[in-house]
């Protein structure tokens, strides 16, 4: 308790200057969705209200929300209505009841006078069993919230998601697990001027796997979601989209971006994992630590959104411009880079390694073994010190996602 008080004191005295009173209600408790709750910029429900694969305890979640005051609420409609993304695919909840469950949002809005930024996912094909209900719910919400969008989850060829999205009267784009982060950028630091650089200019016109629309269309819809502005000069942030092929070109593109502004690197060459050659170059050339953000853990939409959101929130000039202390900004940037590197490491080495050796559900023993294996990998030095992983676990008992514990240690690395 004393520690909590002390922590609260530290937060108050050295706290961020992003708009206070922001609530965040994640889609579920998987790392990409839950991550913002560790950023010290939002208030989240107690972790215990989310019960892994079983989904959220809805009544507890609604009860929690009813007790909260705040100026802005970034909320996942799927969490509030179905209990999470997985449940949204299978729940047989009738439309009316689904709509009724959103009353809790309207009540919060009316009670606090705060604004709601919400997102509801257009579910993945072919898993979703009640697509029409999900869509109708989104369609029926009208303009009841300050902002509402519908990202579509994993649109592989043959998915109706893109076409369905086109029928909705609200903004839509590919993505899902990054949406919370993107809307937080919209809520906390809107108006970021972003220049987008592609390592291969021709890739911008190509339709990317899992997205169903041309890459640059994805990117421009993402910028709109984030409340960011696409610019060609004097950007606040450069979003480098690495589509793969030549890591050296990727590095040169990053270098080109760094000349103009901090660089958020979305590594979309592959799905759910980064490109090792690029990362090795970045590490070898000591560039990784200079990035504003890096994301490679999901689909292109996931990675673009996560890189943009984290860069937009924590890149030094942007973060400081919002009134945050420089040291706090630097720590946040180092931590999102550390997290991103560990996610890369999981996708590149950890996941294949553990899949080859352990059946799901994964045990703590499996976690211990794979952690030992991963400790042999090179770890970058980041602004605040050497990255030291301290453990990992499988929140959902499966190999798809791992939750890392780490620290950054050693003296601050001032020399290159």
């Amino acid at each position: 308790m004393r520690w909590a008080l002390l922590l609260a004191f530290v937060l108050v005295s050295h706290g961020w200057a992003f708009p206070s009173g922001t609530l965040y209600l994640p889609l579920d408790d998987r790392p990409p969705n839950w991550l913002p709750c560790t950023w010290q910029v939002v208030r989240c429900p107690p972790r215990a209200l989310y019960q892994g694969r079983q989904g959220a305890n809805l009544e507890a979640l609604w009860g929690w929300l009813q007790e909260q005051t705040g100026r802005t609420l970034v909320a996942s409609l799927d969490a509030l209505v179905y209990g999470g993304l997985v449940q949204s695919r299978s729940s047989a909840l009738p439309l009316e009841e689904a709509r009724g469950r959103l009353e809790v949002l309207y009540r919060w809005q009316a009670r606090t006078g705060g604004q709601v930024l919400a997102f509801g996912v257009i579910p993945r094909h072919p898993d979703a069993t009640h697509r029409t209900r999900n869509l109708e719910l989104l369609r029926s919400l009208g303009d009841g919230f300050a902002y509402l969008e519908a990202p579509w989850d994993d649109a592989l060829p043959g998915s109706p998601a893109v076409a369905e999205a086109a029928t909705l009267p609200i903004p839509t784009r590919p993505g899902a697990d990054e949406a919370g982060q993107v809307l937080l950028l919209r809520a906390l630091n809107p108006g970021v001027r972003v220049r987008v650089l592609y390592d291969q200019p021709q890739a911008a016109q190509q339709i990317t796997r899992y997205e169903g629309i041309p890459l640059q269309e994805s990117v421009s819809r993402l910028l709109l979601s984030a409340g960011a502005v696409a610019v060609e000069s004097r950007p606040d942030l450069v979003l480098v989209v690495y589509t793969g092929g030549d890591p050296r070109r990727g590095v040169l593109t990053v270098l080109q971006g760094l000349r103009e502004a901090p660089v958020a690197l979305a590594d979309i060459a592959r799905v759910n994992r980064g490109e090792a050659s690029l990362v090795r170059y970045l590490l070898a050339l000591d560039i990784y630590r200079d990035l504003a953000a890096y994301a490679s853990w999901g689909t292109p939409g996931n990675n673009l959104g996560a890189a943009l959101a984290q860069g937009g929130l924590f890149a030094a000039p942007l973060c400081q411009r919002a009134g945050n202390p420089a040291a706090w900004c630097e720590e946040r940037r180092a931590r999102v880079l550390a997290q991103a590197y560990l996610e890369y490491l999981w996708g590149e080495i950890g996941r294949p390694w553990v899949r080859a050796r352990f059946p799901e559900p994964l045990t703590e023993e499996a976690a211990r073994y794979v952690f030992e294996r991963l400790q042999t990998e090179p770890m970058p030095r980041l602004g605040l010190g050497q990255l030291r992983p301290e453990g990992l676990q499988f929140p959902w008992g499966r190999s798809f996602e791992a939750e890392w514990q780490y620290r950054l240690d050693g003296v601050p690395n001032l020399q290159r």
């Binding site: 050296r248 040169l252 000349r259 290159r416």
Partner: protein, 861 residues
């Protein structure tokens, strides 16, 4: 991922740590010989402009060549195309020393070398370096060497780029740090001038340039305000639109040029080999304050632009802040000084004092050298300089400026401030000094509280320099506003005072005139007041003496005059010939109107005889008595023209009329008096005509009574005279039978006879103009001091003095003139009889005085 790839990554990591490009390439050569199988010697060349120089050599027995090789040399040696080289393709070729670009003496070192693996390192569409790996074995490089070499070449390109970027970033960070320091310094400035002086040093701190200047925008010029290492440039002005500095200011962005490439330069000796960076100083609204230019012998980096722009904006904002603060300070100071000024102005007691304070204040409020107040004179339609301060003030005062001349008229007519940075070009400008020199002018309207224009307050720098800024108009306008209000208030007050004083004097004069009956004394009193009120120096009351009535000619005689002390001119005007209709008095008398002559010296009807006395302004009011010309009241000034107001004319007119009435009254009174006298005398004589008295008796007793009264100091001589005239008036009512009865009267007749005293008294009772003295004589002249008289038998002092006095005269005259019942006595017998009666029937003291009177008359006869 093979070991060689790992080795290459390790090499890259090592290379990234190299501090310089040369170190990096040396390490790259070492690494390449280690990594690439078959390499036994090697060298590395780095691009320098358009040529390549050796950076390192391994395994060759020769010193590092000091000369450079061209791209053509290298491509020949490479044996491939530029495109291949830019794609990072290494080529393994058999060595032919003559194809190398080496000097012949160095080619020896190639002896024994069989194979060359030439690796281009491409970077940004150029071959940045060449790595040459040599092999002396006859067997060629193994096949994997080429692919590994390509990997190395491409990676090296990235490393080189990274290093460059890092250096750039480092440089940028340093610049930003310097900028941050400079911005911090900027924020400490509290005075714009000090900041201007510091700007060249600050920009040099950021850029490390060799020299720098700061140009301040002043109107349409940029003037070198401060300079470092270029003193000659100080004070130099750059007209609008010239040079990169104006371009930087107008385009609001940093300009970087090589001076050689630009057009016309500063007049200061140029150094064409230099590079210049012009940084506009602008605030957040884009308002440009000036430019800072840095000069260097090496080109400025494009990367510096954002930093310099930030510097320009930072400095601009500080300048804007300082300017705003200074303006605020100035405004505050102005307000304070205006407050003080209006306090000071309020203290002014007279208009003149106020005007002087205004012009002095105007000088203080602005940096001008001369200040003027010109007031509008509607009669003459001129602007007259009524107050001046500063340079040539004494020349300016009193100047009258006709319409369409002078800048003040423009201010007056347009009712708005006028600012001219240089008035000398304006043909309307009037110079008090007479010298038409470049000078700034600022004039503001001077109005009264009702918004009427009364004049112009102006400042200028003619003759004595100084400075006037357009913004000075606000201070001057504020001053003019205060001044206008105070001026009109003071003028109104003075007018009111004058009016009150005039009124007081007029009332005084009127009341004085009321107490005066004699026209000359009235005229005297009126002239004193008029001269006082009008400011004229002399005045006279003239009476007309017509000598030739048909021709209307005669003389104007000075009845009385009044002049200011020490004037002494009036004597020359005591007798003036006059002809009605001619000359100023003649005209006045002929027309019946007040004549006004502004300046007698210029008057066409002037007489030379009078001109010599320097007669100037003249006012003449004609005087008429019963419609006939009588004379004139004249006021005059000598030596100086006097300013005559309408009110003066009206006043003179009023006095003249008042005087006429007094003259009239005096004439009338005289007439009445004469008439009454005649009437009474006629009454008295009436008795004589009825033969009741001896002829001449009335006139004699009147004369003797008055004479005796005079002798005795009797106060009411007129009463005595009237009483004497009428003493026996009552006898008119006595029937002739009694009055003319020759014999003794019966008692009844005697009582009737005795009643004439009371009858007479009764007849006079209603004549209000007769005094008690006269009536007492009529009633009691037959009383006797011993009580033997009638009608009441009063004794001694019971009988009024006048009656006792008249009784003596009456008895005496009766004695010395014959009556039907007696002969005339001799004078001395009569006197003897009187003396006998003295103390009995007559008053002894009066008899004594009478005897002396008669004796003195006889003696003097």
């Amino acid at each position: 991922m093979g070991a060689s790839y790992q080795g290459m990554l390790a090499l890259l990591r090592e290379l990234v740590g190299c501090p310089t490009l040369e170190d990096l390439l040396k390490a790259a050569l070492e690494g390449a010989m280690r990594l690439i199988p078959g390499a036994q010697a090697g060298s590395v060349l780095l691009r320098q402009e358009n040529a390549y120089r050796f950076v390192a050599m391994r395994g060759h027995n020769m010193p590092l060549p000091g000369y450079t090789l061209s791209l053509q040399d290298e491509l020949r040696w490479y044996g491939g195309s530029l495109e291949e080289a830019l794609s990072g393709w290494p080529r393994a070729v058999r060595i032919q020393a003559e194809r190398s670009g080496l000097l012949p003496r160095d080619r020896q070192s190639l002896q024994g070398m069989c194979w060359l693996l030439k690796i281009p390192v491409p970077l940004q569409n150029r071959v940045e370096a060449w790595i040459n790996l040599d092999r002396c074995e006859a067997t060629p490089f193994p096949p994997e060497a080429v692919s590994l070499a390509r990997e190395l070449a491409l990676s090296l390109g990235v490393v080189l780029q990274t290093l460059k970027e890092r250096q750039n970033t480092q440089a940028r960070l340093e610049r930003e740090e310097r900028l941050a320091r400079v911005l911090e310094v900027l924020s400490t400035f509290h005075e714009a001038n000090l900041l201007w002086q510091a700007l060249p040093r600050l920009v040099m701190e950021i850029l490390g340039a060799e020299r720098a200047v700061a140009l301040r925008r002043e109107g349409s010029e940029l003037r070198v305000e401060a300079a470092i290492n270029w003193r000659e440039a100080l004070g130099f002005s750059l007209p609008k639109g010239q040079g990169i500095s104006w371009a930087a200011l107008e385009e609001r962005r940093v300009q970087m040029v090589r001076l050689e490439d630009t057009g016309p330069k500063f007049a200061v000796p140029a150094r064409p080999q230099e590079y210049a960076a012009s940084i506009p100083l602008q605030d957040a609204q884009g308002e440009g304050f000036g430019v800072v230019v840095a000069y260097s012998e090496t080109p400025f980096e494009a990367e510096d632009v954002p930093v310099l722009e930030a510097f320009g904006r930072g400095a601009g904002q500080v300048l804007a802040r300082l300017q705003a603060q200074a303006a605020q300070q100035r405004e505050l100071a102005r307000l304070q000084s205006l407050t003080r000024a209006s306090q000071r102005l309020t203290a002014a007691q007279t208009t003149e004092e106020l005007l002087q304070l205004i012009v002095r204040e105007a000088l203080e409020q602005t940096g001008a050298s001369t200040s003027l107040v010109t007031l509008y004179r509607p009669k003459a339609d001129v602007l007259e300089v009524v107050a001046a301060a500063g340079y040539a003030a004494e020349k300016a005062a009193g100047i009258r400026i006709k319409r369409n001349k002078g800048l003040a008229w423009r201010v007056m007519e347009q009712r708005s401030p006028l600012y001219l940075p240089d008035a000398s070009g304006d043909p309307n400008a009037v110079y008090a000094s007479g010298r038409r020199v470049p000078a700034a002018y600022l004039g503001v309207p001077l109005g009264d509280p009702e918004g009427r224009m009364v004049g112009v307050l102006s400042v200028d720098t003619a003759g004595a320099g100084g400075q006037i800024h357009p913004q000075d108009r606000y201070a001057l306008e504020a001053l003019a506003k205060v001044a206008g209000v105070l001026l009109s208030r003071l003028q109104a007050l003075e007018r009111a005072n004058r009016e009150a004083e005039r009124y007081r004097r007029l009332v005084q004069m009127s009341s004085d005139l009321e107490t005066l009956d004699e026209p000359p004394r009235m005229a005297q009193r009126a002239l004193e007041t008029l001269i006082d009120l009008t400011g004229l120096s002399a005045g006279g009351f003239f009476r007309l003496e017509l000598q030739d009535a048909s021709r209307g000619s005669g003389w104007m005689r000075l009845v009385l005059g009044h002049e200011r002390a020490g004037e002494g001119r009036l004597q020359h005007f005591s007798n003036l010939p006059v002809t009605l209709g001619q000359g100023f008095m003649g005209k006045a008398l002929a027309s019946g109107k007040v004549q006004r002559i502004e300046d007698y010296q210029d008057w066409e009807g002037a007489w030379p005889e009078l001109k010599v006395y320097k007669l100037r302004t003249l006012l003449t009011a004609p005087l008429f008595l019963r419609g006939e010309p009588y004379g004139a009241l004249t006021l005059a000034s000598f030596d100086h023209k006097a300013h005559i107001f309408e009110e003066h004319l009206a006043l003179l007119e009023a006095v003249a009329r008042r005087l006429e009435r007094a003259l009239e009254r005096a004439a009338h009174l005289e007439e009445i008096t004469r008439t009454r006298e005649d009437a009474l005398r006629a009454l008295g004589l009436g008795l004589e005509l009825r033969d009741l008295e001896t002829k001449g008796h009335t006139d004699r007793v009147v004369a003797l009574t008055v004479a005796l009264g005079q002798r005795l100091g009797f106060p009411d001589l007129e009463g005595l005279r009237m009483g004497a005239y009428l003493h026996d008036l009552g006898k008119l009512a006595i029937p002739d039978s009694i009055l003319l009865k020759p014999g003794t009267l019966t008692d009844a007749e005697w009582r009737i006879m005795q009643s004439h005293c009371d009858i007479g008294f009764g007849m006079l009772e209603n004549l209000g103009f007769l005094s008690q003295t006269a009536r007492n004589i009529v009633r009691y002249h037959h009383e006797r001091v011993d009580g033997s008289g009638y009608p009441f038998g009063l004794t001694r002092e019971e009988i009024p003095l006048e009656a006792r006095l008249f009784a003596v005269v009456d008895v005496y005259d009766a004695l010395i003139h014959p009556r039907p019942y007696k002969a005339a006595w001799r004078c001395e017998d009569a006197l003897g009889e009187l003396q006998r009666q003295a103390g009995q029937t007559l008053d002894a003291a009066i008899v004594e005085a009478f005897v002396e009177l008669i004796a003195s008359r006889v003696g003097s006869a």
